[in-house]
């Protein structure tokens, strides 16, 4: 019987010829990522709970300080210092204020066919390169640090067939929100979301990253898109040639899917996730007119150069509404530099936006750009849970960078199609 991309990656990483959904397989990972939100917990566990602790392969470990950057209190500052010392002692790769962990993995590490495990739920991002990426808890991460392997249950796969073409004002973010609406927040629990179809081939790599990044929000174990020439060129564009060895896995024609959905982009309109759950997705028109106190453009979901270009295109020569704060955080120093070179940062500052250093920022909700009681945040981030960005009595709407930018100008949620 045929296998899906995910099944092929897992069987390969598990040293097996064939795996089927439901099977438990122990796999060797290519990358293990841990960030400042939880690494201190893992380090303490590793030191105190593991007998004869070791790092199985330091060359595969990636530490990232990205959640509270720069540190906003002594506690986070001390926690980050603990990471720096540990990384130095064990000769681990450490990114310190370089950007959001998932973005850095995509820029510098992940390759098609690889396995990326991370102590962060949005590790599903890796799927845009045709790699398996999934998030794990601290105990799993500690064991994986020590063993170099991790066990996973082979997931069933849900397939999304995407056809048609996006309207000028609709983005990949609107598509993934639509997909989450289809599935509900738990619709893909333990499962893989495989996104395929001609329309996806037309998508830029960065658009694809937005899709797999949010697969977790439908509960998915991972999201995956078959890698192609575009992906390889994109990676080479960042890292240069030659690339280390990689494998492009493709789903077999007779691979088995739990469910198949089809979406025609011709019919897709801008979508918004209403508070306080990701699957509370409605057409943007239902939210139009809602006054926004803060708008955020950034995060591992939408902080890449294409997202910033969209925002700059809208904001050029305009001003942020006087009763709205617009905060923009490029997803990495690399993106920041590109945005500097292209003049986007200048456009943002001239428009009155507050440009933040690359970090998780508002999407993490604990270091900068927090919102207050009764406030409304319109965000390109990953989550809109109650209190995620500040006060438990605030509201978060999630949307595309285009919707975010036009709404920052008008001060209320605005349809990007009506703005032009």
């Amino acid at each position: 019987m045929g296998m899906t991309i995910t099944e092929k990656i897992l069987s390969h990483a598990g040293g097996k010829k064939h795996v089927s959904p439901g099977e438990i397989v122990t796999i060797t990972y290519n990358w293990l990522m841990s960030n400042d939100a939880t690494t201190h917990v893992s380090i303490n566990m590793w030191k105190n709970k593991v007998k004869n602790p070791r790092i199985f392969d330091p060359g595969k470990i990636v530490f990232v300080i990205d959640h509270n950057v720069p540190a906003e209190n002594v506690k986070t500052a001390d926690t980050q210092k603990l990471m720096r010392i540990f990384a130095r002692e064990h000769n681990l790769q450490l990114y310190d204020g370089e950007g959001v962990c998932h973005q850095l993995l995509m820029e510098n590490h992940t390759l098609p066919g690889q396995v990326v495990i991370g102590a962060d739920s949005h590790t599903t991002t890796a799927g845009a390169y045709g790699a398996f990426g999934s998030g794990f808890g601290s105990t799993d991460i500690v064991a994986a640090l020590h063993e170099g392997t991790i066990w996973v249950k082979v997931p069933e796969t849900i397939k999304f067939e995407i056809s048609g073409k996006l309207k000028s004002y609709v983005t990949a973010k609107d598509l993934i929100l639509k997909m989450i609406q289809y599935l509900g927040a738990k619709g893909a629990t333990y499962k893989t979301m495989e996104i395929t179809g001609d329309a996806v081939k037309d998508f830029s790599v960065e658009e694809r990253i937005t899709l797999t990044n949010l697969a977790i929000e439908a509960g998915a174990k991972n999201g995956i898109i078959e890698a192609d020439r575009k992906v390889i060129d994109y990676i080479k564009g960042i890292r240069g040639e030659p690339l280390p060895e990689y494998t492009i896995f493709k789903s077999d024609p007779d691979a088995e899917y739990r469910q198949t959905f089809t979406i025609n982009l011709d019919e897709l309109e801008p979508m918004v996730a209403f508070p306080h759950t990701l699957d509370n997705v409605k057409p943007l028109k239902d939210a139009v007119g809602t006054k926004v106190d803060e708008v955020f453009i950034g995060s591992c979901s939408n902080g890449r150069i294409e997202d910033l270009r969209i925002a700059a295109h809208v904001l050029a020569g305009k001003k942020v509404h006087r009763s709205t704060r617009l905060l923009i955080s490029p997803a990495s120093r690399r993106v920041f530099k590109q945005a500097l070179d292209e003049g986007l940062i200048l456009t943002f500052v001239k428009a009155g936006a507050l440009v933040l250093n690359p970090n998780c920022s508002v999407c993490w909700g604990a270091c900068q750009g927090v919102i207050g009681k009764d406030e409304v945040l319109l965000s390109t981030g990953t989550r809109n849970f109650r209190g995620r960005a500040g006060s438990p009595e605030s509201k978060i709407f999630l949307c595309s960078p285009r919707t975010a930018a036009v709404s920052a100008v008008t001060g209320k949620i605005t349809h990007p199609g009506e703005f032009e």
Binding site: V74, R333, L340, L346, L354, C367, V370, G390
Partner: protein
């Protein structure tokens, strides 16, 4: 009898014929500034005092800077209350996130030579660099001024700081004020004003003067005043203000003390935590390894400061053990620095560019220093625990010293060519 700068300015706003140091006078205030930490208290107390309308809604500035970008929902509550006061009283000078208050007050021309400006922040004395009698007060008094337009002030005695010579390459006005604080100590000018005079003044730019005046409070001074001269006038005429006063002290003014400094002989200075007045020649600490550096704040977050750092860092990379945080003082400074390519240079060197505001200097965001780490910083205070853990170590220094130090990873004298 001749008058000092402080006496002249205070007399011009008092209903008196003469005044002298030691007199308590009621003066008419030209403008006030309150920032986000305290504007809500001013509002609350203003109404509690029974006032209904502010004395002049065009002379009050409400500026968010300490809590930008906000890191807790409580911060936003403070911003909301400040905004409410602005709306209720139709306050014209409102800046919800445009930069550090003391930088905006000069940048937007809200503080002008010869005026009396009060602010709910101890570094309000910054404007003395532009010949403004400016000092900090608490929020209760600020509420009283908002209601009355007046405040009582004790006319300070003045310490004259006579300056000669020129700053050598690599030496900054920051080194001068650090040196002065080291000499006067933290309480050396309590209740007094500093007045800077002498031939070297004409050689100092407005930005350099503002840095000096900014730190006058660190030796306890009420104000740190420079004369308003052609350089000052040139700045204000660029802002479109043609008729600003030129003002200087009388030759026969009476001073309680005179100190002399020769700028030509000045060397880079550093101040070691936890006391700003623990100032040494950089040679005493050169070579000490640093973990972090900060360039920004109302002391040294101006375009001039960023330019100095960019010049030193152009085409180079900061030391790999150092985190370098750069916080432009205002949105306009950020914009200018982008247009001049300065942000590009600093970013390329490895600096972390954060959003304009007080940043780390407020001690509540923007790069708090872990315990046991050492930082070199361009700001004005290094009190115990203010910028980091209780065992962190903070050295205050000039932008040039900071830039030279981030390259080597050690405290480095910028005046000794590399």
């Amino acid at each position: 009898m001749g008058m000092t700068l402080s006496e002249k300015i205070l007399l011009s706003r008092a209903e008196k014929k003469t005044i002298k140091a030691g007199d308590t006078v009621l003066v008419q205030v030209d403008g006030v500034m309150m920032h986000d930490l305290f504007a809500p208290k001013v509002r609350e107390i203003f109404y509690a005092m029974g006032f209904k309308k502010v004395w002049d809604n065009e002379r009050i500035a409400v500026i968010n800077d300490h809590l930008v970008p906000a890191k807790t929902p409580d911060d936003i509550e403070l911003h909301k209350m400040g905004r409410l006061f602005v709306e209720e009283q139709e306050i014209k000078r409102y800046h919800p996130g445009d930069g550090v208050c003391h930088i905006l007050m000069i940048e937007r021309g809200y503080a002008r030579p010869g005026e009396i400006i009060l602010g709910t922040d101890s570094h309000t004395c910054t404007y003395g660099g532009a010949g403004v009698f400016a000092t900090g007060i608490g929020y209760t008094e600020m509420a009283a001024i908002c209601g009355t337009g007046n405040i009582w002030l004790k006319v300070p005695e003045t310490i004259k700081i006579h300056l000669e010579g020129y700053l050598s390459p690599g030496i900054a006005s920051k080194d001068l004020i650090l040196k002065i604080i080291g000499d006067l100590k933290a309480d050396g000018a309590i209740y007094k004003a500093l007045e800077f005079s002498g031939p070297a003044v004409a050689g100092l730019s407005l930005a350099e003067r503002l840095t000096v005046s900014n730190m006058a409070v660190e030796c306890g001074a009420k104000a740190g005043l420079f004369p308003a001269d052609e350089i000052t006038a040139a700045y204000y005429s660029e802002l479109g203000e043609q008729s600003v006063a030129q003002i200087k002290a009388d030759p026969d003014a009476v001073y309680c003390r005179t100190m002399h400094y020769d700028l030509t002989a000045l060397t880079p200075q550093v101040s070691k935590s936890p006391n700003v007045d623990d100032v040494s020649d950089i040679a005493c600490f050169a070579g000490l390894e640093i973990d972090q550096a900060f360039l920004g704040s109302c002391t040294n977050g101006r375009i001039d400061d960023l330019r100095i750092a960019a010049k030193i860092l152009a085409g180079k990379k900061i030391h790999r053990n150092v985190r370098f945080i750069v916080t432009p003082g205002s949105q306009r400074i950020y914009e200018k620095a982008l247009e001049e390519g300065i942000i590009q240079v600093l970013h390329e060197s490895g600096a972390q560019i954060t959003a304009p505001g007080c940043g780390l200097c407020s001690g509540i965001l923007g790069g708090i220093v872990p315990n046991g780490d050492r930082m070199i910083s361009s700001n004005n205070r290094n009190f115990l625990g203010r910028l980091g853990g209780l065992t962190s170590e903070i050295f205050l220094a000039s932008p040039a010293t900071i830039a030279a130090s981030v390259l080597t990873g050690k405290i480095t004298d910028p005046s000794r060519g590399s």
